[in-house]
Symmetry: C2
């Protein structure tokens, strides 16, 4: 299912192609979020026109609303949302647990007191975590729901995604090694249950990725990588808490991919929830094949455009008063539908102040175009043997080629 065409000689990077039930995905690739069966503000034809070959749907959200049975009745997720290419579905593990634990970002940004490391918060929507699965309260109707690893696989089978992810426990950042070790063990047992369910009931054309956990502990990450690779899953995702900052995140991802380079060098790898420009560059060097992240689309809806400015974290906030009278386009020389049309920043600022959805749409088109061209550039550079130079240039604020 995965052909690696070229490996970079100076890093772990590789360029290849995923052959999936609904088509090919050239890697390394970014995968836009279609969490609730839509890439927010866009139509599938827009996403295709931007050059994307795969989107990511979310098991947890679609399980609750509108329900996988309904989607199956309407022909599966592809038919339902009219996306003809491959779809990867997240397992719902992250969403179930982030409701109870809070995310790392929450912990850091809001400086909340750490939650109990023994388990989920009592005040969260997670009601209990057991060997069997997780009980939680639906955010849609307040009902009690139970998700087993098998439930997640069953939902993903009903959705008919090209790639399903196994159900895992996502521990928060600040839990001790002991809890992380126990949790990772349970995630491994859940991996086996997911694969067993899929072997018996899953669609034959659906590929299954295991998920490497292990928090920020090197030995746990390495052991988890080996354990997941040994399970015989089709691909490997890297999830869970990756650290407090980018440096630690890159280190943690590197432990996993180095281990995978030894034990499963030919299997495709997905990095969950990571998509800042510098992280996409570093992740590619670390041998990640696919990435998903809310960043480009969520920032867009909040009025933030991705631009080649490393000192500004590759971001410019167009909601600010300083842009009210600006005739500048979002990004000079960019060929995205918004920049090609030349909408002035002053106009986008006007639309953003009014809450007009067209602003979110134009910025989503821009941000996803930027990220798509970045990934094209990295992929081409691997093929041409020029990744070190291109990665350095992009890190220094060079625009992606063919922007």
């Amino acid at each position: 299912m995965f052909a690696i065409h070229r490996r970079d000689s100076e890093s772990q990077a590789r360029a290849g192609v995923l052959r999936l039930a609904h088509g090919d995905v050239r890697t390394p690739a970014f995968v836009p979020l279609a969490t609730k069966a839509t890439v927010k503000t866009l139509e599938p034809r827009d996403v295709t026109a931007l050059g994307y070959e795969m989107v990511l749907g979310n098991t947890f959200h679609l399980f609750l609303q509108p329900g996988h049975d309904l989607i199956a009745e309407l022909g599966g997720l592809h038919e339902f949302m009219r996306w003809r290419g491959p779809i990867i579905t997240d397992s719902g593990g992250f969403q179930v647990f982030s409701m109870g634990h809070g995310t790392v970002a929450d912990e850091i940004k809001k400086s909340r007191p750490p939650r109990s490391p023994q388990g989920p918060s009592r005040s969260g929507a997670v009601l209990s975590i057991e060997e069997e699965g997780v009980e939680f309260r639906s955010y849609v109707d307040g009902s009690r729901r139970f998700m087993r690893p098998e439930t997640s696989m069953e939902v993903q089978a009903a959705l008919g995604s090209d790639i399903a992810l196994v159900f895992d426990e996502c521990t928060p950042f600040n839990v001790p090694r002991d809890y992380t070790a126990l949790s990772t063990e349970r995630t491994h047992r859940w991996l086996d249950r997911c694969l067993a369910w899929h072997a018996e009931h899953g669609p034959e054309s659906q590929r299954v990725y295991g998920i490497v956990q292990g928090g920020v502990f090197e030995d746990l990450r390495i052991a988890s990588s080996e354990r997941v690779a040994a399970s015989g899953c089709d691909g490997v995702a890297i999830g869970g808490s990756l650290g407090a900052d980018k440096a630690q995140m890159h280190t943690v991802v590197g432990w996993a991919t180095a281990a995978l380079d030894r034990v499963a060098p030919a299997r495709p790898r997905h990095l969950l929830g990571i998509g800042d420009v510098d992280d996409l560059i570093r992740g590619t060097e670390l041998g990640i094949d696919t990435f998903d992240c809310a960043m480009p689309t969520r920032l867009a809806r909040h009025g933030v455009a991705v631009v080649p400015e490393p000192d500004a974290r590759w971001r410019v906030d167009l909601t600010g008063a300083r842009w009210r009278r600006s005739t500048e386009p979002i990004l000079e020389g960019c060929h995205c539908p918004a920049c090609a049309e030349g909408y002035p920043r002053g106009y986008l600022n006007h639309l953003l102040r009014l809450g007009e959805t067209t602003a979110g749409r134009l910025l989503t088109l821009h941000n996803l175009h930027f990220v798509a061209r970045l990934m094209d550039d990295l992929r081409d550079a691997i093929g041409a043997g020029t990744l070190p130079e291109r990665a350095a240039a992009l890190r220094n604020g060079d625009s992606p080629a063919s922007l």
Copy 2:
């Protein structure tokens, strides 16, 4: 500026072309609203692709936010919103007065007690109506603002619209003849002031439409039509209270267009704020050349699709639970971007329940496509001498040709 190519032999309908500074508009035509400098949920390229040649911006809203000075500084409304075709701007009269008076629809639907016929409500945002102009409170920042007829023309000159409308007083439905007569007289004096200002300061390429008022009183409507025609304005808009129901509205519009057929047969006519399917058909027969209305776009954002079902007022509400599991497209055989892609009603229902903006976009594309094809059909029928048959068929639920 207006060439009539063909007049229908059995009605007052005519087919022609408006030649404006930014291009031609084939008539009869519907003009989508870009009230605040955007056709909500769409990009200009979408509006063009649907076949529209002109959009309508609003003087009142753009005066308050972001301000006409800012738009002028950024090159005018066309440059600002990147719409290359003609733009007509409403004068702001309706908006200023509807804040104080409430609209006819408000009065009828909400069965509110009639407001004082002597003037605007004290509780409304209109603070005073004087011969000089109207003082009102800005809904943006609560400040007191004053709009003279000259202010409206100055704003429209700064916006650089192809067609400006004169500033008028819109009386509510239920005011007595005496107040309507006095108000219509004032509107006529304001018409003269608008034309005088424009003759001296207005852009030469900008055309100016007078506005016929007169409420639901035949003699006042006829007198107003004659008075407006005599003013030498480039075109004539029909505004104000048109009655309590469609039958009365058609009668009132007929009084005006019959009078105009006598005194200004070659001048273009715009019907303000009317756009239901049956009203577009009847309005065309009555000799209206252009129409604007929030209907197709506003309904879309509320989940209502325009369909050829006269008994259902040409509407179907896709937010209802009955569509949850529907695999039907919005409208079988329709070639709009949403129907051509085949999005099932069950999917649109899902997006609408989530408040996803893509739903509003897809329904806006559908509704505007339907209305554009309806106007094409009516225009072609006038040209072919088959308007009576086509109008009858469309009234009976026939789909527009080339839908």
